[in-house]
């Protein structure tokens, strides 16, 4: 599936054993954690650098995470 939205960085999983700074895709209607397929879910400097940018992503949504195969800046 394809989604369009804005990238932001926020704390995910506050107080849990997987608390970390996560990259989110805010579509305007929903907000999903964004993860590049096969990348480290806890640190991804390349994605974090895209914070504030509008992107088009293609991949799979599973529960609350969008696993992106491609991410293109619009």
């Amino acid at each position: 599936m394809k989604l369009v939205g804005k990238i932001s960085v926020r704390i995910a999983g506050e107080g849990t054993k997987s608390e970390h700074e996560a990259v989110y895709l805010d579509t305007g209607k929903e907000s999903y954690q964004l993860r590049k397929t096969g990348s480290n879910p806890f640190e991804n400097p390349e994605l974090k650098q895209m914070a504030g940018r509008e992107v088009s992503v293609e991949g799979t949504l599973d529960k609350y995470i969008f696993f992106a195969r491609t991410i293109e800046e619009i």
Partner: protein, 490 residues
């Protein structure tokens, strides 16, 4: 009468394994024959023989009916979640972007006598010895299935020659807590590795011990566990790090978030849990979802994992090791479970045949040491524990407290502020009316006698690059604070 029942759903097996289904059945019959030689009378039961279970409720009801009819010593669920579904329980802590698990995939309901429900509160009375021998989800891989069943057939308890040896990795930030866990289980911490610096590629010598323990980060649909130091999260172990390196009969406990998730290999790679079984492990105990530990000392995931490994090390079957761990966890949390304790009991499950004994138990002349007596005691204990635990329910409106100054003082003491997000849970007195009796005897009953848990989530300390975000749970009754706990990433 069967002492072990293997339950599965034929329609789903046929759909997945197609022409190889007959071979799957042959393997299961080999397991039955092998069990017979070990003194276990095993019966394979297709849940869809009499009617077709469609929903999770159908499956739970069918298993309950079978269990009552057979009262087996062991219940083996055969197949991953696409063969026999997990029971999806509502997560009492579900809060988007904090605890994102709306549901907890769980096998706990199969271990309890209570009727089908999606409420974790219904399943605080585990009495059954249950495990799941899971094939690879989403994909028919007969070779994998053959390995995991043949390994159960080959299994025999190992001698307890090296009961204090282990392979263990902790995220560096949780080193102190892991040291306590490991010391409680094995009596020494000399083999505990911290990540970082540990970053995978372990030697055969390091991986050889039969017990493996992880207190690392885990993530949804990801086949790694991660360490942490500051803002660095290196891969502590990748699923492939164990290939051809571990000992037959290895038993694993993983505290990690999503530590025991089962992944479709074509989508996300083979999960760590599945790959352990591909490499001849026999038991894997871990979580389906985001798990928790306390700020200091021991609690939640730390406890259930260490109780399990201690029991396995003492010679309990893997299934009994988990049942006794669950009962101990509940008995120590009772009578009022906070929502974090509720999630913990629901989320941890056993992968592997529950009748497998990893370590030979020490011989005993105790005449009560029969499996029948152990099961009777475990059934009685589980039923009693459940009867003494009330329901913990999230309330929509934050109740006022005439003693809020004390709460503010705790918030201040623990470096929270009164701006922290507050969620309130109340203990329901309806279940057996135990709470009013307790309060009456203690002379503290009133018209509004409620046990409450006030949960505060707040970032209280930030010093780049280290973040420290904590959850404070305050327990109160009749506006009197009884105590508080802190659960956090450490």
């Amino acid at each position: 009468m069967a002492t072990k029942i293997v339950v599965t759903i034929k329609k789903n097996l046929i759909q997945k394994y197609d022409q190889q289904f007959a071979q799957v059945e042959d393997l299961l019959h080999s397991l039955i024959q092998s069990d017979q030689k070990k003194g276990i009378t095993t019966q394979l039961i297709y849940l869809d023989d009499s009617s077709t279970p469609v929903t999770e409720q159908d499956v739970k009801t069918a298993i309950d009916r079978l269990y009552t009819a057979h009262m087996p010593d062991y219940l083996l669920i055969f197949g991953a979640q696409d063969i026999v579904p997990f029971q999806h329980l509502e997560n009492p802590l579900y809060t988007p972007q904090t605890d994102d698990d709306e549901f907890i995939p769980s096998d706990l309901p199969y271990a309890c006598n209570s009727a089908y429900s999606t409420d974790c509160n219904s399943f605080t009375n585990p009495t059954r010895v249950v495990g799941r021998l899971a094939d690879l989800p989403g994909k028919a891989n007969f070779s994998y299935l053959k390995i995991i069943i043949n390994n159960v057939i080959r299994s025999k308890p190992a001698s307890s020659k090296f009961p204090s040896d282990y392979f263990a990795i902790t995220a560096s930030v949780w080193e102190k807590s892991s040291e306590q866990s490991i010391s409680n289980i094995f009596g020494n911490i000399k083999m505990l590795l911290s990540s970082p610096p540990a970053k995978g590629k372990y030697s055969a010598d390091q991986l050889r011990p039969i017990f493996h323990f992880f207190n690392c980060h885990g993530a949804l649909n990801d086949a790694n566990f991660y360490g942490q130091k500051g803002m660095s999260y290196p891969v502590a172990i990748n699923t492939r790090d164990i290939d051809h390196m571990i000992t037959f009969g290895t038993a694993v406990a993983a505290e990690c978030c999503y530590g025991a998730q089962l992944l479709n290999p074509d989508e996300y790679g083979v999960s760590i849990a599945s790959n352990y079984f591909a490499n001849n492990a026999l038991s894997f105990m871990g979580s389906s979802t985001i798990s928790y530990g306390p700020a200091d000392g021991q609690g939640l995931a730390d406890l259930i994992c260490q109780y399990f490994l201690i029991n396995v090390n003492k010679g309990a079957s893997a299934g009994r090791a988990l049942l006794e761990a669950r009962q101990k966890f509940l008995a120590e949390s009772a009578p009022d479970l906070d929502p974090y304790e509720l999630k913990t009991i629901a989320q941890f499950y056993l992968l592997g045949d529950p009748s497998v004994q990893i370590i030979r138990s020490a011989p005993t002349k105790n005449a009560y040491n029969t499996i029948e007596n152990r099961r009777f005691n475990l059934f009685s204990r589980g039923t009693n524990i459940g009867a003494g635990i009330s329901n913990t329910i999230k309330v929509n409106e934050r109740p006022a407290s005439s003693n809020y100054n004390e709460i503010l003082s705790i918030l201040q003491q623990e470096e929270f502020t009164d701006e922290a997000t507050e969620i309130v849970f109340e203990v329901d007195s309806l279940k057996g009316d135990l709470l009013p009796k307790r309060l009456d005897i203690m002379g503290i009953a009133s018209a509004d006698s409620k046990v409450r848990f006030r949960v505060f989530q707040k970032e209280v300390y930030l010093k780049a690059p280290v973040r420290n975000i904590r959850t404070l749970v305050i327990k109160e009754i009749n506006n009197q604070v009884l105590g508080w706990k802190i659960y956090v990433s450490r």
